[in-house]
Amino acid sequence: MLQLEARPEASKLWVFASPVLALALTVLLGVAIFMALGKDPVRGLQMFFWEPIKSAYALGELMVKATPLLLIALGLGICYRSNVWNIGAEGQFVMGAVAAGGVALLADKETGRWIVLAIVLAGILGGMLWAGGVALLRDRFNANEILVSLMLVYVADMVLSYLVYGPWKDPAGYNFPQSKTFESVTQIPRLMSGSRLSVGLLIALAGVGLMWVFLFRTRAGFAQQVGGLAPAAARYAGFSSRKALWVALMVSGGAAGLAGALEVAGPIGQLTPYVPAGYGFAAIIVAYVGRLHPVGMVFSAVLMSMFYIGGELAQSRLGLPKSITGVFQGLLLFSLLACDTLVAYRLRWLRGRA
């Protein structure tokens, strides 16, 4: 029977073959699903892998979707590398959006362009505040950050709901639950006309560079990871695991809040109950599929966005149900997790008894 045998050292081959295999498995299963539904599998794959990148406009839309995913994933990458399991990025995203929206609502026709900076900063602070709650509870009370951050997601949703149904509701909006649309001066600057792509993308790419330098080139980054992964060793070396906790949560909260600000002062342009779009959860997959490495996460963010947009297109062009996106995303992560085993273990046939 098949047996897993630990390798003496991590297999270099499988480190780069595993994600490829996982993607191939997902594509294979995808083809099977398309065929089972009676749709042309090549056209189906086209929807997911070709259509989202075939024109400048399509690429722009792809990056509009990928930017928040990448930003949040970068923050989560630092978190997970520090063994801090922040599952509540969605809540931090929402609170960033709320804070940013609050500042944006202060603008009127006379306000200057500086408000954009204020909005972005507010978003970062909002996300940090929310993640700070998680950090505090783990630091002072030793409360499990997974559950606390998750619970705070729901609380954040309720805060947003309360504000748009109540104090921040647009008085001229026929009592619909939404805020005023933000003045045009608050809009995050676009990169080019004809596309919704904003400078958020540049910020995200800068974030990639910063994260790479921090994690792999600075002593602080090294201390951060050790502090999280091996607290005893960290203490011996003089690294603070407490500091690692706070840094991890502040950074990921700030990143998620920034993403929230960019979304709400960008494509959405107002606060509505539909601001929470699940990016906080999808970003967890992005971080993982990207191997928690900043450059890897760029690719996985683009891949996940292709799944999102492809799913939309498959619906309108091929009549495939929208839920297929979730199926693919889940399958990709499952496959990756399974294939990753091959990095540390080898499959062997053993004859005789188990």
């Binding site: 991590a10 480190v15 075939k54 509009v64 149904y165 494509p267 779009a277 309108s316 929208k322 990095v343």
Partner: protein, 380 residues
């Protein structure tokens, strides 16, 4: 987590990129053209492409179901002069704008957005898609190439009230309400006014679920209303859960948006349905003939957009007769639901004797009439 050296990660990433690029080239070199849709037989004129964006699933049995039925009626009416398509479950956020642009990119020249939350995305898209005509349901912002349409659901609510007033034994009615906007408050009021016209003693209780479509929550809300004494329910939400709950607990209820008889045969008293077909046929016809112009339409029983159907057999004759009278009066314009004297919750007159409310008044209703209990969330 396994140990990964920096170089290995780089190699991972590089190889993935190569693999992805290879895959892309493979598929990109494949068929690039779009699969042809239902081909129109060799016609000299290109069929008009019409697209519909739905907020919920086509099978919701309520709001979206009604829209899709109308879409099918339009297909039947115009045959091969048009080609229709739809996208369901389009969320009311930034994604919607992308969907509208994609529809336009696919050659659709007439696009219907069937929920309030599409207003801003449609408006943004309208600015760039000058040769596309956009129709927005239940909204209030228009543009040269975007107009709004709505249905007088309050007429259906009033007719339901007439029946409810006669059928209630506890003199307490219940409404499972969605989002506290004028449309819904107006429906609650009209339901109450209709009931009071045949039974002045009725009171109406309201529970707000703050969503349009959430069957478990709607079930809980309906349960709470029934537990609070209501024995006839109405809803302004989009699923049959309220009717099902009434069936389970032995009370009566009305269907909403579509005929919901099948979901609660014993409980069902009638369904206040919206028929979007007459408006959709008019809109498509205008687009085909080049007569489309921006406007704000609000259609009711008169234009065939609202009706009360499948009235239960055990409703007493006098109630049925009264309901039919109201329907006929609405059809020929001789009857006005919102005609004074109408009192607010505090007993003060909101509409003087014989005064008839105009559309502006109706559009801004954010108060309860006398007989409705409770406060409007976020209202006065």
């Amino acid at each position: 987590m396994t140990d990964l050296t920096k170089r290995s990660i780089f190699k991972t990433v590089a190889l993935s990129a190569v693999a992805a690029a290879a895959a892309l080239t493979l598929f990109g070199c494949g068929k690039k053209e779009e699969a042809p849709k239902a081909e129109a037989p060799a016609a000299k004129v290109e069929p008009l492409k019409v697209a519909f964006a739905y907020v919920g699933p086509v099978g919701d049995g309520g709001w979206t179901f009604a829209h899709d039925n109308a879409r099918k009626a339009v297909e039947k009416e115009f045959g091969d002069k048009i080609v229709t398509s739809y996208v369901e479950n389009v969320k009311e956020n930034a994604d919607a704008e992308r969907v509208f642009r994609d529809m336009a990119g696919q050659g659709n020249k007439l696009i219907f957005g069937t929920t309030f939350g599409y207003m801003e995305p449609m408006l943004k898209a309208a600015a760039d898609l000058k040769d596309v005509k956009l129709e927005h349901a239940t909204g209030y912002k228009t543009a040269d190439n975007m107009r709004t349409y709505d249905s007088r659901t309050y007429e259906g609510a009033y007719m339901a009230g007439v029946i409810a007033g006669k059928m209630t034994k506890s003199n307490t009615l219940g409404v499972v309400a969605s989002v506290p906007i004028p449309e819904v408050v107006r429906n609650i009021n009209s339901f109450t006014l209709g009931a009071q016209s045949v039974n002045p003693k009725v009171k109406t209780k309201v529970v707000w679920v703050n969503e349009w479509f959430n069957p478990p929550k709607e079930t809980e809300a309906a349960t709470a209303l029934i537990n609070g004494g209501a024995d006839v329910l109405m809803q302004n939400t989009d699923s049959p859960a309220v009717l099902q709950t009434a069936e389970k607990m032995g009370k009566r209820a009305f269907g909403w948006d579509s005929d919901m008889t099948a979901y609660g045969p014993k409980a069902h008293l009638g369904s206040a349905v919206i028929n979007w077909a007459p408006y959709y046929i008019k809109a498509v016809g205008e687009a085909l003939e080049g007569k489309w112009a921006t406007s704000q339409s609000w259609w009711g029983v008169k234009e065939g957009a609202i009706d009360m159907v499948s009235v239960a057999a055990d409703v007493p004759e006098d109630a049925k007769k009264k309901m039919e009278e109201v329907k006929a009066g609405l059809k020929d314009g001789s009857f006005s639901i919102w005609k004074g004297p109408i009192l607010g919750q505090d007993g003060k007159e909101v509409l003087a004797k014989d005064a008839v409310a105009d559309d502006k008044f109706l559009g801004g209703i954010m108060f309860y009439v006398k007989g409705v209990e409770g406060k409007i969330p976020g209202g006065k």
